[in-house]
Symmetry: D2
Subunit: 267 residues, 4 copies
């Protein structure tokens, strides 16, 4: 995803669109094989092809060879662990002001879905610091990031948020933890003045606790919201929402670090 | 936004957080003044200060001097023209796979809110090509982008989408036009194989027309959805959604360019 | 449901609440048996008991003997056929002005869920006329209504809406058909001036067709809406919406019959 | 609304649909006048006319003379006090099993919007007991009910819910009070076994308190939900949701009275 040469190279992540819209993703490795119900493709045949070109299986079926977009990969990660949804990730990136060059911290790492989105957005000039208490969880996330070619933009750290963070003057900190209200002093120490704080919480009780703690710790500009995403059946003559939708992923909470004593009045 | 020195310089966009949470944004210009109800700040006093530091008005009130985040600016743009909402922008960026280095085209430019978000996300290595039929509209958008220091990442073009686009092999094309179904041949000519198409349409009738045209023009992986964003009153002891919400901005349609003859079966 | 004596009688519908919240519904018949995993209850033991009293299985487990509420029964009907949801039914009744004494027509009968709700609401002084093209469908619905003791308030008719309706001067007509726009002349003939028309349609295309036809047939006060119903996990310390919700049942369309030539201006 | 003769009589509530869809509601009184921008109508001219017929102003403009539906009147009440919305009322009636013959209690009376809906639904055989702490509030509500011809189905009582209710063996009790959790012992005393309890609360904190109290007081079958109602622009060629919607009215909580010791297990 990071490197964008015009031709597929060993080590690149390849995304194949098949005859009837199926997709497969694989890291190109000399000697590797991709087996599909429409025949076999060898990695050696794919390496050296132009991105976007047609390639053929041993059965003569054609596929399109593409570099995967981040969203393709996030959906794959999500299917396994279902932590952070695209609808929420897009809004999180925007609300935290993440872009090329951003320095941002998250705790915990979890599945790495948000880590990947952050690493993608900050580019080679930015950096992501990802804290996680459970070493084995982070191993899986790191593997996801390596597969995406994004791991070099991330510093993984096995550590409890209670012990604080090594970084300072960060632009943004995102806590994907059940009790973010317990770590706001640590967040303040890592954030620049005016820096962005964000969190995603499933229950209203957690939101209330966090709001109270944010105000006590001199955060301001609190925003609490939730995003509902409804898909439609893409049929022109029978356009309608699909029957089932995700009714809840979590409440999004954002705030900015103010200097001490400058917080908004509580009502 | 683009340049991130540690100290404020002439030409930078400055964002000031005031005593009770007010915000002001201004481009720093020698000799300039910012007048607030808590006193006056001169640009000359701000230039040279460290980002994140406290600065004082002539009445001795303190402010925090910050670089604005993209979202701060988008909300300002939005207040005036209300074209594309943060909830939609975040998801559009993610669905089109936009990140550092992306080459993306949009038509029309409109207020420049989406242009700004795209330019922010593609970084200095990427580029945005923005087409608009009405010259005067684009002048206003360009001014917004210049203020944000993002204009050098954008090629503005006054031209009708019907006349086609100069670019080829783009990663993504977004049409913010009332009749995107009329320009899909032009979109295909500009997109790389497997490239992303997106659009935002207010009515269901437009969505049906676009779905039909996308299938005729060998686009696949159609996704139609809408995003509802609901804010909560950020009060711990009385947590509740706010009374009024935006009930509709538009339907989001995404698709990918397939090679001819490879489209999904219609049902 | 109709008769409300203080004691259970043969022929009544009985609703039993079991030891851990299970529910069973049965029509009381001399000699009948209800077998549960907490033991057996005989109908003869239940007949003659006061409503609301405790009754015991042969294993000594207690149950509460109740008359079922309409909603209990609608949910049972719904589980099988899923035609009209409680969230929609409640609003339909209110929007059509249905209450004791109302005379209302519906086509088609379908599962009888809406028929039951209408029959319940109109009381013994009102009446429901229910048209259905397929005889076998109506047989099942009639059985549901008989079980509920509501069948005597309903005139079932196997007939196509295209052939018109026998009634006149009705207060309200509800079309639960895929092409209500084809029967508006018939609806007008059956409705009193100012009478209420309603329909529930799954696709946006159908809604557009119906809106056009309603305006052509001199209906006014058009209202198009949809109702989203989101359940919460009823746990005090972890209050949150449940993960899955029904994203769509149908669009609700209501209008009133105006005298010819008196319709609202189209824009 | 209650009486349904074929002709308008003095004392009836009349609903007039005007030339371009305007509506007016007035109680017919000998000597009364209705002044509109399309001319004047005298009550004496209206009395004796058939419901649904055309009537003419002194300028020769015609109007349709109708009996108002409940929903027409609720919307009028709502415009003033905005307590309970049609989307919620319909679902409340259904969930409490209210129909002809029901005996139901509510506290507090408030604007009388829900009182009117309950009184309409229970018919002449049923009854509504409406408690309100503030005498002056109830005076206004009673006037609304009298205007609707529904007052004789309601027993108004100025009394605090803390002092308990005079009724017993009721089918349903609805508390429209900010602290329903404080009155559940009183509710149990008034409800029949298996009877329905309902409430509508604006904040999540209130919902959590009520859930805890309901479980402590041996209520079961708890259901917590909220209803979002979205209107569409009724234009066939440009069908779309309207921009603004009501984002929140309240959380709906329903439960049933179980015999002591029979409540569901808490998790």
């Amino acid at each position: 995803m990071a490197a964008r040469h015009s031709h597929a190279q060993a080590g690149d992540l390849a995304h194949l669109l098949g005859p009837r819209g199926q997709t497969m993703t694989a890291q190109l490795t000399p000697g590797g094989r991709i087996e599909t119900m429409h025949g076999i493709l060898t990695h050696d045949d794919l390496i050296g092809q132009e991105w976007g070109s047609r390639v053929f299986s041993h059965l003569g079926k054609h596929f399109i060879l593409l570099q995967p977009a981040l969203d393709d990969v996030l959906r794959d990660i999500e299917r396994v662990t279902q932590v952070v949804y695209p609808k929420d990730i897009g809004y999180i990136l925007l609300s935290l002001g993440i872009g090329p060059g951003s320095r941002v911290l998250e705790a915990g790492t979890g599945s790495g879905a948000l880590t990947a989105a952050l690493a993608h957005a900050v580019g080679d000039q930015g950096h992501v610091f990802s804290y996680e208490r459970r070493a084995e969880t982070q191993v899986a996330a790191r593997r996801n990031l390596e597969q995406l070619g994004l791991a070099q933009r991330v510093t993984f750290q096995v550590s409890d948020a209670a012990d604080g963070f090594d970084e300072q003057d960060l632009q943004a900190v995102f806590l994907d933890l059940p009790n973010p209200e317990d770590y706001l002093a640590q967040v303040r120490a890592a954030l620049q003045s005016g820096g962005f704080f964000g969190s995603l919480l499933p229950t209203t009780n957690q939101v209330s606790l966090l709001i109270t703690a944010l105000k006590q710790h001199d955060f301001g500009f609190l925003e609490v919201s939730e995003i509902l995403h409804r898909y439609y059946q893409p049929i022109a003559a029978r356009l309608r929402p699909v029957d089932n939708m995700t009714g809840h992923t979590g409440f999004l909470i954002f705030a900015r670090k103010l200097v001490t004593g400058q917080n908004e009045a509580e009502d």
